[in-house]
């Protein structure tokens, strides 16, 4: 018994220290500091489910501690002892009931949010959505802007308060596109295109990352998503068109080879490149060669049926503290030339 008394002190200190460490870390967590309607709703859902679970978890932990203390085997413990008592229909109904009720509530909340936050569901807005076609490569991200006719590597510029329709695929191992402050992730898979709508409500640099393991330089698949005003965005597009280099088919093949890359800007893109990347791997789905329709996710096809709008528009509270990412403007625009494509083609 002496040892357990001895251990109680370090145990208490350990718990206290970790509590302090953890609560001090909370303020800066980016999932809890969303900057767009999708991210805010996801944060709300996380809060709701956490609270609903805590309704059960906290009392259970308190009851556990009390039972262990109350019924510990001590000589002077006068707690009742009923060694045969092992069944009570009332009690069993009670906790089956509580468990079912809580899961029912969590389930209903989840159902509502699952339809509202279907990644392929457009964000209601008076502004027209901008399409960005995302391709995960080994080990870099290619972002094509089909409407603007430009492309970037490893950085993304988007106008604020405008829905962005990301169309995603992979030319290589499957990856996952994730900009936590704008909203949740979605897989990029070769031979398929997924759709993800996100929107930034205020300008800033947001951390983006690949979330699904893809091999050696997976850790280098971070990118910056920069949200700017519409005017700045248009100016950036114009500058990119003027100063970037054209992306040729051959250039794409070089880019797609294994290796990491700096941030790059391309003034033009071959037409239909994204669709060709998708269909290069989709022979099993019967796409005739060269036939380029946008591969659609199931839910996108259902979009016509579901006309409800997501709850968007409310600005999340919060500060402008962002992850320390370098300003996108300082690179990729003017100083691009063919020599700074530091690509490492394989080993």
């Amino acid at each position: 018994m002496n040892t357990s008394k001895l251990l109680r002190l370090p145990a208490t200190i350990g718990v206290l220290v970790s509590t302090v460490l953890l609560t001090s870390g909370c303020k800066s967590m980016i999932v809890f500091d969303p900057k767009g309607p999708i991210g805010s709703q996801e944060r709300d859902l996380i809060y709701i489910t956490t609270l609903l679970c805590l309704i059960i978890v906290v009392p259970v932990l308190v009851i556990t501690a009390w039972i262990i203390w109350r019924f510990r085997n001590k000589k002077d413990n006068n707690a009742p002892y009923q060694p045969i008592w092992s069944h009570s229909t009332k009690l069993e109904i009670l906790w089956w009931g509580i468990s079912i009720a809580v899961i029912l509530v969590v389930g209903i909340v989840t159902a509502r949010y699952t339809y509202a936050l279907d990644p392929a569901k457009p964000i209601a807005s008076d502004k027209k959505a901008i399409t960005v076609q995302v391709t995960s490569l080994d080990w870099k991200w290619l972002f094509q802007y089909p409407e603007q006719g430009i492309a970037t590597v490893n950085y993304l510029v988007i106008p604020e308060r405008t829905p962005i329709k990301f169309e995603l695929t992979a030319d290589g191992p499957m990856n996952s596109f994730w900009v936590p402050q704008l909203g949740g992730m979605i897989y990029t898979m070769s031979g398929m295109a997924t759709t993800l709508y996100l929107q930034a409500d205020e300008p800033g640099n947001y951390m983006g990352t690949g979330a699904n393991f893809t091999g050696r330089d997976f850790a280098k698949m971070g990118f910056t998503a920069k949200a700017t005003s519409k005017a700045d965005f248009d100016q950036w597009v114009a500058e990119s068109k003027a100063k970037g280099k054209a992306l040729s088919e051959e250039g794409y093949q070089q880019l797609a080879a294994q290796g990491t890359s700096d941030r790059l800007t391309f003034a033009s893109i071959p037409s239909g490149l994204f669709e060709r990347i998708v269909h290069e791997y989709s022979t099993s789905r019967g796409a005739p060669p060269g036939y380029t329709i946008r591969a659609r996710t199931l839910s996108e096809e259902k979009k016509a049926e579901h006309t409800e709008h997501s709850k968007n528009g409310q600005l999340p509270p919060g500060n402008n503290a962002q992850k320390d990412a370098p300003d996108v403007r300082s690179f990729g625009q003017s100083d691009y030339n063919s020599h700074n494509m530091h690509m490492n083609h394989g080993k």
């Binding site: 556990t64 069944h87 393991f213 839910s299």
Partner: protein, 662 residues
């Protein structure tokens, strides 16, 4: 002369390709492996133990000895998987650290996952099955003792094959579930993936056979009077786990076979070029993989139920509800696999279905927690080590279950998926659930297995260090995940702000390692200052295994007990304490026992040979291996000399030695 030089060159080339080179850590391991092997050979030879090793262990079909071998092997694998974990935590302790290269880091985390799930959790669980189930049933062995031994040796050889990749050929590095196309030839051109495929495949076949064996044992070999409502709760948990095994493991076998065909014959089941589909693999592997986590955790629930009742000196509360909960978990486990890829864009309908089915599992699991609590309620709780691990499990699993429900809400999962939040969750349920449970089981049954108790004070130190280490290690990971850190990152920059939490986590990891060392010390200390268990029932427990001497004699029960109650041994003790006559025992009769056989060991070596040959595409090794498997099967089929009888005199002598009068 030139010819001679090129032969030497090609030998050099071969050696540098065949053996893993270039890393001081690996060279250290090479030296350690050679020294350990030499030491083992020396000790066995010096003490003339080769014959003993062969007769008593390598050829044994006794479930208790098979169980002990499972436990020893799995604890060694726990050590290795743990060292891998500490290597990773060291690499992540500081940003931009160059302790492990990205390639090496990828190999280490892949190995860590494979070791811990396939070669630590599964065999430790099977060890407990083997030790406890026949004894709880009042049986003399499992239904198929030969098959049981074969299962063990397949696991062992599979594990050895996988472990070899670390010094020969190179390790797998595509993650513990080897998603294509990363695990295909394009992504992993080396032999590491083939080692993974065959290591897991061979041991997986062993697991499937164990599942079949224990279902038959539990259905057919219960002592007379043991109706389904009197089956001990741990045995129920084993049954529900085995039901999941026999449905899940064939899926794994087929999936691994298909990915092997992709790699070996250039098929395109899972390569997107050529019409295959990588997501098909992801579906298949999780159709096995999600039930797998319940397979691992259900027996731990059984252990907790036994331990809680024994150390509260009270009947298990809500037995019927517990059994129903476990069986429903083993069924529901099949409707949850898709929650591992909510983010693949399958649409709201599909995501919602799997979100709800996943959440539903929280209901029976939550009910079990309440039942454990109310088993303690109005009991008399004592705090020996098995009970401590059980009590440590409750808060840990409650919190892990809560984060599981949070993860199951599909749109919330878009933010948690593949992040450290997920890592923290599954370590919390797998360590807090399964590992704590197996530790509780190991401490609980240790006296029954070895005939002596483990030292309690050192065990309590180990428990507290482990637990504090656990929370310090995994709690920060929830938060660093919410801060955008994804799993399997080999390094990260200072600018991310993840340093403090990762560093804390690393400290916790090393504390858990220290806890493990305390357990090693505890075992060594207890062997030296042995506290012999002469009663056969050191804890005042409730089920049949405690009615026989410790360690259990070869034949387990001198006479097969007739069961009249759920906690039959407890009721018997109560009757004796009340001055009533104990149950009448039938007269001793010769006991029918299975004979030892070298075939499982030899056949498993043949499997190892096949695996090794196919890994390197050397058919001249693989084909003799196949022939060996066929021959050993044939030899066993025509072997009619498989059993013998233990005479009554010998039983009398054995029982008298253990202080029993029959």
């Amino acid at each position: 002369m030139r010819g001679g030089a090129s032969v030497i060159d090609s030998i050099k080339d071969f050696v540098s390709w065949f053996f893993v080179t270039g890393d001081p850590l690996i060279y250290g391991a090479d030296v350690a492996i050679v020294l350990t092997t030499v030491a083992i050979i020396f000790v066995l030879t010096y003490f003339r133990k080769w014959d003993w090793l062969w007769r008593e262990w390598l050829t044994t079909v006794d479930h208790k000895r098979v169980g002990i071998m499972y436990i020893i092997a799995s604890l060694l694998m726990l050590f290795r998987g743990g060292v891998d974990a500490l290597l990773m935590r060291t690499q992540l302790a500081f940003p931009d650290l160059k302790f492990l290269s990205p390639e090496h880091y990828n190999e280490v985390f892949t190995t860590h996952g494979v070791e811990m799930i396939f070669f630590m959790a599964m065999p430790l669980m099977f060890g407990l099955f083997n030790i406890a189930v026949p004894l709880q049933l009042g049986a003399r062995d499992v239904a198929f003792p030969f098959l049981n031994s074969l299962s063990f040796w397949l696991f062992f050889m599979g594990a050895m094959l996988f472990n070899m990749s670390f010094v020969i050929g190179g390790s797998a590095n595509a993650g513990w579930l080897s998603y294509p196309p990363l695990s295909e030839l394009t992504g992993s051109p080396g032999v590491g993936e083939d080692f993974y495929i065959w290591g897991v495949q061979i041991s997986g076949i062993g697991s499937l056979m164990t599942g079949i064996n224990f279902i038959v044992t539990i259905v057919k070999m219960r002592a007379p009077g043991m109706t389904w409502s009197r089956v001990p709760i741990f045995t129920w948990s084993v049954l529900s786990s085995c039901i999941a095994i026999i449905v899940a493991f064939p899926v794994l076998t087929v999936t691994l076979a298909l990915v092997f065909l992709d790699r070996f014959l250039g098929a395109h089941f899972f390569t997107t070029d050529g019409g295959g589909n990588a997501m098909m693999y992801v579906n298949l592997i999780w159709m096995w993989g999600h039930p797998e986590v319940y397979i691992i955790v259900l027996p731990a629930f059984g252990v907790f139920s036994e331990v809680v009742a024994a150390f509260s000196r009270k009947r298990l509360f809500g037995y019927g509800s517990m059994v129903f909960a476990m069986l429903s978990i083993s069924l529901l486990a099949y409707f949850t696999w898709l929650h591992h890829f909510f983010t693949m864009g399958s649409g709201a309908d599909v995501n919602l279905f799997f979100a709800i089915t996943t959440m539903i599992i929280a209901i029976p699991t939550g009910v079990k927690i309440f039942n454990w609590l109310f088993t303690m309620y109005r009991g008399r709780i004592t705090f020996q080590t098995p009970m401590l691990w059980t009590l440590g499990f409750i808060p840990c699993f409650v919190v892990g279950g809560m984060t599981g429900v949070m993860l199951s809400a599909a749109p919330a999962d878009f933010q948690f998926h593949n992040s450290y939040f997920l890592i923290a969750h599954f370590h919390q349920v797998l360590i807090g659930g399964a590992v704590f449970g197996y530790f509780a089981g190991l401490y609980y049954w240790w006296p029954k297995i070895f005939g002596f108790k483990l030292n309690e004070p050192i065990g309590k130190w180990a428990f507290w260090i482990w637990n504090i280490g656990f929370y310090v290690c995994f709690m920060p990971q929830y938060f660093v995940g919410l801060d955008g850190m994804t799993r399997r990152l080999s390094s990260y920059g200072w600018d991310k702000g993840w340093w403090a939490m990762n560093f804390t986590s690393t400290i916790g990891g090393f504390l858990m390692g220290l806890g493990f060392l305390f357990q090693v010390w505890q075992i060594a200390h207890s062997i030296k200052f042995m506290e012999k268990d002469t009663t056969g029932d050191p804890w005042g427990a409730r089920t049949l295994e405690w009615s026989i001497p410790s360690p259990a004699p070869l034949y387990n029960f001198a006479t097969i007990p007739v069961v009249t109650d759920r906690d039959d041994w407890w009721e018997e003790k109560e009757r004796i304490a009340a001055g009533k006559a104990p149950k009448a025992r039938p007269k001793l009769e010769p006991i029918h026992m299975p004979k030892n056989s070298p075939i499982p060991f030899i056949q498993a070596i043949c499997w190892f040979t096949v695996g090794f040959g196919l890994v390197f595409h050397w058919l001249w090794i693989a084909i003799p291996g196949f022939i060996g498997i066929a021959l050993t099967m044939l030899a066993h089929s025509f072997n009619y000399d498989t059993d013998y009888y233990i005479p009554v005199d010998e039983i009398k002598r054995t029982e008298a030695k253990a202080g029993r009068i029959v």
